[in-house]
C-alpha cells in the first residue's frame, strides 16, 4: 500500500503540476478583473510548444541543449524523494538534504544554459539566479531548522507532522511556516521575488535564462517550473500540515492542500509587487532569521 500510494502521489504531482500553475494564474486574473485563461491552459501551451520547431542560438554548445533535460531530471527526482502520502517504504530514499542539493543542481544547469546562450540576457539571468540561490540555500536550511531538532536526522518522513505540531507549540510552528513560505516564494520564482509573467528584460530572472529556448526545450523548462512549484508546496504541507491515518487519505488531503495553496498563491501574487533586486538579500536574511528563531525556541525548550 505504501508503494502504491507513493507511486500514485509522484505521478499525480508531476501530472497535475501545470494544473496547479493554471489555478494560480486564473485566481490572479480574476483578482485583476480579467477573465483569464482556463485552468488547463498550461497543458495546451506545453503541447503546442512541444510540437514547434526547436532552435538553438549560434555559439551555443551541447550544454545548452542538454541543460533543460538536466534541470527537469533533477526536479523529477526531487518529486520522487518527497513522501507524498506522509510515509514511504523503507527502501525508498527520502533525504531532505538531497532535495537541497538537487535544487542546487537544477540552478547550476539553468545558470550554465544562460551563460551558453552567448547573449546578454542569458548571462543576466544566470547571474541573478545564482545570486538569489546563494540566499535561498541557507535560508531553506534555516527554515527547516525546527525539523533538525525534532527528528535528529536528515530524513523527511519519520516524524509524523501531527506529533511534531504537538511538541512544537503554536509559536515555533507559526514561525517555521512563515519562514518556509518566504523561502518557497523565492525558490519557485514567484512574486515578490520574481514575476513569473514578466517579459520585460530588465526585471526578468528565470525568464531571462530560458529566453533563447523554444520548442521542446522550452516545454521542458516550463514543465520544470511547474513541477518545482508543486514539489516545494507539497514538501511544506508534508512537514508542517495536518496528517491523516492512512496513506491514501493523506494523498487525497495533499491534493486538496495543493489546490488551496495554489489559490492562495494567486491571491497573494495579485496583492504584492516585486521587490527590488537588491532588497532580496534582506528578504532572504529575514526568512533565515525567522527560521533560526524558531529553531532556537524549540532547541532551548522555551515556549512549548
Amino acid at each position: 500500500m505504501l508503494w502504491g500510494a507513493q507511486i500514485v502521489g509522484v505521478v499525480l504531482a508531476i501530472g497535475l503540476a501545470p494544473f496547479f500553475m493554471g489555478v494560480a494564474q486564473t485566481v490572479k486574473a480574476r483578482r485583476q478583473g480579467r477573465h483569464g485563461p482556463s485552468v488547463w491552459q498550461g497543458y495546451w501551451v506545453l503541447a503546442k510548444t512541444w510540437r514547434k520547431e526547436t532552435t538553438v542560438p549560434e555559439y551555443s554548445s551541447w550544454v545548452f541543449r542538454l541543460a533543460p533535460s538536466m534541470s527537469l531530471a533533477a526536479l523529477l527526482l526531487t518529486v520522487l524523494l518527497i513522501p507524498w502520502s506522509g510515509t514511504v517504504p523503507s527502501a525508498w530514499p527520502h533525504d531532505l538534504l538531497a532535495v537541497f542539493f538537487l535544487l542546487a543542481f537544477e540552478r547550476f544547469w539553468v545558470g550554465l544554459a544562460g551563460m551558453d546562450s552567448a547573449g546578454t540576457f542569458g548571462g543576466l539571468g544566470a547571474s541573478r539566479i545564482a545570486t538569489l540561490g546563494t540566499g535561498i540555500e541557507p535560508a531553506m536550511l534555516a527554515a527547516f531548522g525546527v525539523l533538525w531538532v525534532l527528528s535528529r536526522q536528515t530524513a523527511i518522513q519519520p516524524l509524523a507532522p501531527a506529533l511534531m505540531r504537538q511538541s512544537l507549540g503554536i509559536i515555533p510552528w507559526g514561525l517555521a511556516v512563515l519562514s518556509y513560505a518566504f523561502v518557497l516564494l523565492a525558490e519557485t520564482g514567484r512574486l515578490p521575488v520574481d514575476n513569473p509573467d514578466t517579459h520585460l528584460e530588465l526585471t526578468m530572472m528565470h525568464e531571462a535564462t530560458v529566453l533563447e529556448y523554444n520548442g521542446r526545450f522550452l516545454a521542458q523548462s516550463q514543465l520544470a517550473i511547474a513541477v518545482k512549484l508543486t514539489a516545494i508546496l507539497g514538501l511544506g504541507w508534508i512537514w508542517l500540515g495536518p496528517q491523516l491515518a492512512t496513506p491514501w487519505a493523506n494523498l487525497g488531503l495533499r491534493l486538496v492542500e495543493l489546490l488551496v495553496s495554489s489559490v492562495a498563491l494567486g491571491w497573494l501574487e495579485s496583492r504584492s509587487t516585486k521587490l527590488r533586486y537588491f532588497q532580496l538579500s534582506t528578504y532572504l536574511t529575514m526568512a533565515a532569521g525567522i527560521g533560526i528563531l524558531a529553531f532556537y525556541l524549540v532547541s532551548s525548550g522555551g515556549l512549548n
Binding site: 541543449r65 527520502h94 538534504l97 547550476f108 533538525w148 536528515t154 533563447e212 521542458q220 533565515a288 532547541s299
Partner: protein, 628 residues
C-alpha cells in the same frame, strides 16, 4: 627497507632530469608505486607490513598516501603533454618533492618528520619559482617560503614540547601516552601544532601564501600542492591532535570549527571575485580545507564529549572530503593548465567558447565544477552531505547556544556551497561556454593532457555513485569504529539516487531529441550581437560585490579620454577591484613592524667588525663580573 628504496629512488629520478622522457616515465612509475603502496597499506590495515622505530605506515597514513598517489599519478601522466619553460628544473625537484611527502607520511620520529617537512617546503618553493623570470613570481615564492618557515617553527616547537613532556621522540609512544598529559600542556601543544598545520593548509587568516604560490607554479605542481601537500596539514591535525592527544579543552573544537567556517566562507567569497582561473582555484582550495576543518571540528567534539557517533561522522566526512577535494581540485588545476597552454592566458575576461576547441578538457572541467559545487551524483556531494549531517547532528543533539552554534556552522556551509556553485557557473560559463571574447591563437592539446583530466572525472563519478566501500574503509581507520559505518549513508542511498538521476536525464534528453535543433542567430532586442555583450566574470558577480561591500570594500575608477572627455568621451577606461583586507590590515602592519625593528637593530648591529669586538669584550667583562 622498501620505503628506503622508495625514498632513494626519488633522488635517483631527480638526477635523470635532463632526459625528458626517461625522467617523466620514472616519475610516473614512482607515483604508481606510491599508489600500490597505499592500497597495500590500507589492505593490510592495522597489522601493517611496515612497522619500525623510524618509519611506519598506519592505516591513517596509508589513506593520505592514497590521496598523494592518485594526484601524483595523474599529474605525472599529464606532464607528458605539458610544455613549460625550464622543464628540467621541475623534473629535478618534483621527484624529491614527492618522496619528501612520503617521508612526512611515514615518519615515526620527530627528526625524520621535521627533516621531511622542511624538504617538502623547500622543494615546493623551488617548484613554485620555476618561472622566476615572470614578474611577481619570486615575491610570491618568497612569501610562501616565509610562511612555510613560520609553520615549520610552530610545528617544531609543538613537537618538541610534546617530546619533552612524554620523554620520547617516537610517535608510536605518543599514541599511547599522550592522552594522559595534563590539560594545560595539551592546550599548548594544540595551539602550536594547530597554528603550524593551519598555516600549511592555508586556513584563513594564515592563507596569504596560498593564492600567490599556487597560481604561479606550473599546472602539475599546482595540482600536487593543492591536491596533496596542503592535505598534510589535515593529516597533522588528525594524527597528533585528534588521535594522539585525545580529549582536550572544549575550546579547541570550537577553534577548529570557527577556523573552518571562516575559511570556507571567505575562501569562496574571495574566489568569486577572481578573474584569473588559477587564483580562483587556489581560493577554492582554502574553501575546501575549511570544509575539511569543519569535519575535523565535529570529530574533535565527538572526542571531547565521548560520542562515538559524532566522532565517526566527523572523521568520515573530513577524510572523504580530503580525497574528493584532491581528486577534483587536481582535475581542475590540470584543466586550467590545459587552458593556459591552449590559449596562452588564464584571464577569464579574454576567454570564452573553449568547449568547441577543447571538448575533452571542457567535459573534465564541467564534471570537476559539479563535484566541487557538491552536486549529485559526484563525490563532493557525498562528503559535503556527511559534513552537513555532522553539523546538524551537533545542532540537534545539544541545546541552547551549542545548538545555535551547530546550526550556524551548517548555515555557513550551505552559503559556501551555494557560492561555490555560483563561482563555478561563472568559471565554466565564462571560460568554456558562449562566444570567445577575444580572438586568441589556439594551440592543440595532446591526448596525454586530456586523458588524466577525464580519468579524474571518472573517479569523481565513481566515488559519487558507489561511495560505500570508501566510507567503510575510512570508518575502519580508527579501531573500534566500523560498527556504525554501514548506516552512515542512510537514508540517502547514494547509488540509487545517482542511477535514477542519470536514467531520468537520459530518458528526458532522448525524448526531447536534443540533437535535433537548428542553429539561429541570438536575440538581443533586434540589435546585432557581439562577444563583448556577453556577461563577463566581473559583471556576473556584481550583485554579490555590491551586497557584501562590507567584506570586499570594492573600488572603481572610470577614466574618460579624448579632447572633450567630460561630455563626449572617446574611450572609457574602467578599473575596478576589491581590497585585499587581510594583507592590508593584518599583514602589512606586521611587515612594517618587522622592518621597523630591523631598522632599529641596525643601530647596534651595523656590520663593523670593531663594534662587534667591543660587544664581545663587554660581554666577557659582564660574564666575568657576574661569575666572580
Amino acid at each position: 627497507m622498501f620505503i628506503l628504496w622508495l625514498l632513494a629512488s626519488g633522488f635517483f629520478i631527480a638526477l635523470m632530469a635532463p632526459k625528458r622522457f626517461l625522467s617523466l616515465s620514472f616519475t610516473l612509475a614512482l607515483s604508481l608505486l606510491l599508489l600500490v603502496f597505499a592500497i597495500w597499506g590500507l589492505w593490510a590495515g592495522n597489522s601493517s607490513f611496515l612497522t619500525g622505530p623510524y618509519l611506519a605506515l598506519t592505516p591513517l597514513r596509508a589513506w593520505f598516501m592514497l590521496v598523494l598517489g592518485v594526484v601524483a599519478t595523474m599529474s605525472s601522466w599529464y606532464r607528458f603533454g605539458y610544455h613549460q619553460h625550464d622543464e628540467t628544473t621541475t623534473a629535478f625537484w618534483l621527484p624529491i618533492f614527492l618522496v619528501s611527502m612520503v617521508g612526512v607520511l611515514t615518519a615515526q620520529t620527530v627528526w625524520i618528520f621535521m627533516t621531511a617537512w622542511e624538504m617538502m617546503s623547500i622543494t615546493s618553493f623551488f617548484l613554485v619559482v620555476v618561472h622566476h623570470n615572470r614578474p611577481g613570481v619570486v615575491k610570491a615564492g618568497y612569501i610562501y617560503l616565509v610562511m612555510s618557515q613560520l609553520s615549520a617553527l610552530a610545528i617544531l616547537s609543538g613537537l618538541l614540547l610534546m617530546a619533552a613532556t612524554v620523554h620520547s621522540m617516537n610517535f608510536s609512544v605518543w599514541a599511547t601516552t599522550a592522552r594522559d598529559l595534563p590539560w594545560n600542556i595539551k592546550s599548548w601543544i594544540f595551539a602550536l601544532l594547530g597554528l603550524g598545520f593551519a598555516i600549511k593548509s592555508g586556513i584563513i587568516p594564515f592563507h596569504v601564501w596560498l593564492p600567490r604560490a599556487h597560481p604561479v607554479a606550473p599546472a602539475p605542481v599546482s595540482s600536487l600542492m593543492s591536491g596533496a601537500m596542503i592535505k598534510l596539514g589535515v593529516f597533522g591535525v588528525l594524527q597528533f591532535l585528534l588521535f594522539d592527544l585525545g580529549p582536550t579543552s572544549i575550546l579547541w573544537p570550537i577553534v577548529l570549527l570557527t577556523l573552518g567556517a571562516v575559511s570556507s566562507l571567505l575562501g569562496v567569497l574571495y574566489a568569486l571575485m577572481e578573474h584569473d582561473l588559477k587564483r580562483l582555484l587556489a581560493y577554492h582550495s582554502i574553501e575546501n580545507i575549511g570544509i575539511i576543518f569543519l569535519g575535523l571540528g565535529v570529530m574533535a567534539l565527538g572526542v571531547d564529549w565521548h560520542q562515538p557517533n559524532l566522532m565517526t561522522l566527523g572523521l568520515v566526512a573530513s577524510l572523504f572530503h580530503t580525497l574528493n577535494h584532491a581528486i577534483f581540485k587536481s582535475q581542475l588545476f590540470l584543466a586550467a593548465g590545459a587552458v593556459e597552454q591552449h590559449t596562452g592566458t588564464l584571464d577569464a575576461e579574454h576567454l570564452g567558447g573553449l568547449i568547441r576547441t577543447m571538448p575533452g578538457v571542457a567535459v573534465g572541467f564541467l564534471v570537476g565544477s559539479m563535484a566541487i559545487s557538491a552536486l549529485p551524483p559526484f563525490n563532493g556531494f557525498l562528503s559535503e552531505w556527511l559534513t552537513f549531517r555532522g553539523l546538524l547532528s551537533l545542532a540537534s543533539r545539544s541545546t541552547g547556544l551549542w545548538a545555535l552554534f551547530g546550526l550556524g556552522m551548517a548555515l555557513v556551509l550551505a552559503l559556501t556551497g551555494a557560492l561555490a556553485g555560483m563561482c563555478f557557473v561563472k568559471a565554466s560559463g565564462v571560460i568554456f561556454l558562449g562566444q570567445p571574447r577575444k580572438p586568441l591563437p589556439h594551440q592543440a592539446i595532446p591526448h596525454s593532457m586530456t586523458w588524466p583530466i577525464l580519468s579524474l572525472a571518472v573517479l569523481c563519478l565513481a566515488l559519487g555513485v558507489a561511495p560505500a566501500p570508501m566510507v567503510h574503509i575510512i570508518a575502519s581507520l580508527m579501531p573500534g569504529m566500523n560498527a556504525q559505518a554501514a548506516v552512515l549513508l542512510l537514508p540517502l542511498k547514494a547509488s540509487l539516487l545517482a542511477l535514477v538521476l542519470g536514467t531520468l536525464a537520459v530518458v528526458v534528453a532522448v525524448l526531447s531529441r536534443v540533437w535535433d535543433a537548428r542553429e539561429v542567430p541570438r536575440w538581443n532586442c533586434g540589435r546585432t550581437v557581439d562577444a563583448s555583450m556577453q556577461f563577463s566574470s566581473a559583471s556576473f558577480t556584481k550583485a554579490v560585490r555590491t551586497t557584501l561591500a562590507v567584506i570586499y570594500r570594492p573600488h572603481r575608477q572610470l577614466t574618460r579620454t579624448g579632447p572633450q572627455s567630460q561630455d563626449f568621451p572617446e574611450h572609457l577606461i574602467y578599473h575596478g577591484g576589491t581590497t585585499p583586507t587581510w594583507e592590508r590590515y593584518v599583514y602589512r602592519p606586521g611587515y612594517r613592524l618587522a622592518w621597523a625593528i630591523s631598522r632599529y637593530s641596525t643601530r647596534i648591529q651595523a656590520g663593523s667588525v670593531r663594534l662587534y669586538l667591543t660587544y664581545l669584550l663587554a660581554t666577557i667583562g659582564l660574564i666575568l663580573l657576574f661569575l666572580h
